[in-house]
């Protein structure tokens, strides 16, 4: 029943009941009302108002509550939706609202996906260019200088050696930038090696012990999904190194039924998971790209980031 009819019927029913009481009950109102009649009328009116208010509250209350709750929903959280109330008008409102939030979220994640994919493609292109063009040319210069140095008269050799060192530094810079843009190891050697490389880097740059468990024989995943797993592992490890104050961290990649689970767990001091920064939001967005499910749990004894992606995701 629509909200209009419900309110109309409730009011109507109360008025009809009052009219019936007035007609059938032992009540009368004189042309000049005496005090007792006014009191009775007043009591009757009050009773009517109270009954009306109670009845209306049961049907409009849920609507108010829904309106209040709307403000706090986080569309990014797929599970953060309004609970469906039992009575009809609230239920319709909630259903409509949740559907809209879902639609909003779908659209947003579609455009985020596009932006992320475009960004990754661009990074890929630049990294490739750096490796294949700039890097090779600098290699040619480096080797040429070495050769020239071997044959140059002594007074030139020192200059050439200096140039050679500078060239090497340039080559190292190019390589470092390319590596930051795009992990070549993921493409060339696969996810297991890329994760191994992340943990090696982590062990080198933080004081914490790191353990890596990658189940052998994992099913092949689409490259986009591997990239999502890699980036989430990278961000989770960065957070563990930067914020956790952990003494040991474990990274695992295992198969769970028809899903692959990536877990990064640290034994640091934890944090309030409701206070997400750009890093955790980014992880959530990427998880959605791979139709995956990201859960972050944290307490004072450590933080666990878990990402599960379906094996058949395309």
């Amino acid at each position: 029943m629509g909200l209009f009819w419900k309110v109309g019927l409730i009011n109507g029913a109360v008025l009809v009941a009052a009219a019936a009481l007035l007609v059938l009950g032992p009540f009368s109102v004189s042309r000049r009302p005496v005090m007792s009649e006014v009191v009775v009328l007043g009591v009757g009116l009050l009773a009517m108002l109270v009954v009306n208010a109670l009845l209306l509250r049961s049907s409009l209350g849920p609507v108010d509550r829904v309106v209040r709750e709307m403000a706090t929903v986080d569309p990014l959280h797929p599970t953060d939706r309004l609970a469906t109330p039992r009575s009809a008008p609230g239920r319709q409102l909630v259903a409509g609202f949740n559907a809209m939030v879902d639609r909003l979220q779908d659209e947003r994640s579609a455009s985020n996906a596009k932006a992320l994919a475009a960004q990754e493609a661009e990074r890929h292109r630049i990294a490739q260019e750096l490796h294949d063009e700039v890097g090779q040319r600098l290699t040619v210069v480096l080797l040429g200088l070495k050769r020239a140095e071997q044959r140059a008269p002594a007074e030139l050799a020192a200059d050439l050696a200096l140039l050679r060192e500078t060239t090497r530094e340039g080559l190292d810079d190019v390589r470092r930038v390319a590596r930051q843009l795009r992990p070549g190891v993921l493409e060339d050697l696969g996810l297991a090696s890329a994760l191994a490389s992340l943990t090696t880097d982590f062990a080198q740059h933080s004081g914490a012990q790191v353990r890596r468990v990658v189940t052998p024989g994992l099913p092949p995943l689409p490259p986009d999904t591997e990239l999502v797993l890699y980036r989430v592992a990278q961000e989770a490890l960065t957070n563990a190194a930067r914020h956790a104050g952990a003494t040991s961290v474990e990274l695992s990649l295992t198969r769970v039924g028809d899903r692959v689970a990536l877990v990064v767990a640290d034994d640091g001091h934890g944090f309030d998971v409701r206070r997400e920064g750009a890093g955790l939001r980014g992880m959530r967005e990427r998880a959605r790209l791979a139709s995956g499910e990201l859960t972050v749990t944290s307490d004072p004894s450590g933080t666990t980031v878990r990402l599960e992606v379906p094996v058949t995701a395309s």
Binding site: H131, Q136, T139, V140, L142, L143, R147, R175, D188, S193
Partner: protein, 220 residues
């Protein structure tokens, strides 16, 4: 002196190939006898030529250097395959471990090729491994971890200096940084490094591969 070692050089970049060739031909004990512009061509040439060493760039079209190395190892299961050395832009220890896995003796970074390549070729020809410096840290860290846990590790007697160098390597310091920290020359650091590798049983290719598999750095 015996005849120089016969080398096949594979790189898709003609100028890089030329640069490497000039460096190698300069040495009396090394000679480049053939060049390939991609992995497939390299595999082909290995079958028809008598070679001692193949130097393979990793990033090549048609067939990467790693795929080519795997193919060369696989095809020459009887008889001696030529030794192989990988050459690459990527500064990442995983490439070195993958190189060992596909049967290569070592991994040389292009940005260090002017210094390391000749030495790496000679090491490979002797049957030794050329350990890419960036891979030293995970290797010796595993060793230190196992020692700390009280596991049995290869019996070694490192000198005090070697022990210091070992710890710095485990922390990921480069040769240059170690030299600065201990106020010794880079050359001395590198000599210590070679001694440490030998004492930990990681000098020859097969030993090193076995060690890396046990350390979980390479999947068997």
């Amino acid at each position: 002196m015996s005849t120089p070692a016969r080398i096949l050089l594979a790189d898709d970049h003609a100028l890089v190939r030329r640069g490497v060739r000039l460096i190698l031909d300069q040495e009396p004990d090394l000679t480049v006898v053939a060049e390939a512009a991609d992995g497939a061509e390299a595999v082909q040439l290995v079958r028809s030529l008598d070679l001692d060493l193949v130097v393979l760039d990793i990033a090549m079209p048609r067939m990467t250097g790693l795929q080519a190395a795997r193919e060369i190892t696989r095809r020459t299961s009887h008889g001696d395959p030529p030794r192989m050395l990988m050459l690459s832009m990527h500064d990442n220890e995983q490439y070195f471990f993958e190189s060992l896995k596909v049967g290569a003796s070592g991994y040389v970074l292009k940005s260090a090729a002017d210094e390391d390549l000749v030495g790496a070729c000679r090491a490979a020809l002797r049957g030794e491994a050329f350990v890419y410096p960036g891979a030293m840290s995970p290797l010796v860290r595993d060793y230190l971890d196992r020692m700390r846990r009280g596991e049995r590790v290869p019996e070694t007697v490192l000198t005090e200096r070697e022990d210091e160098v070992l710890k710095l390597i485990a922390e990921g310091s480069s040769s240059k940084e170690i030299a600065a920290a201990l106020t010794i020359s880079v050359k001395t650091v590198e000599r210590h490094r070679a001694n440490i590798l030998a004492k930990l049983g990681m000098r020859d290719r097969t030993q090193l591969t076995r060690y890396a598999i046990r350390a979980g750095l390479i999947e068997p």
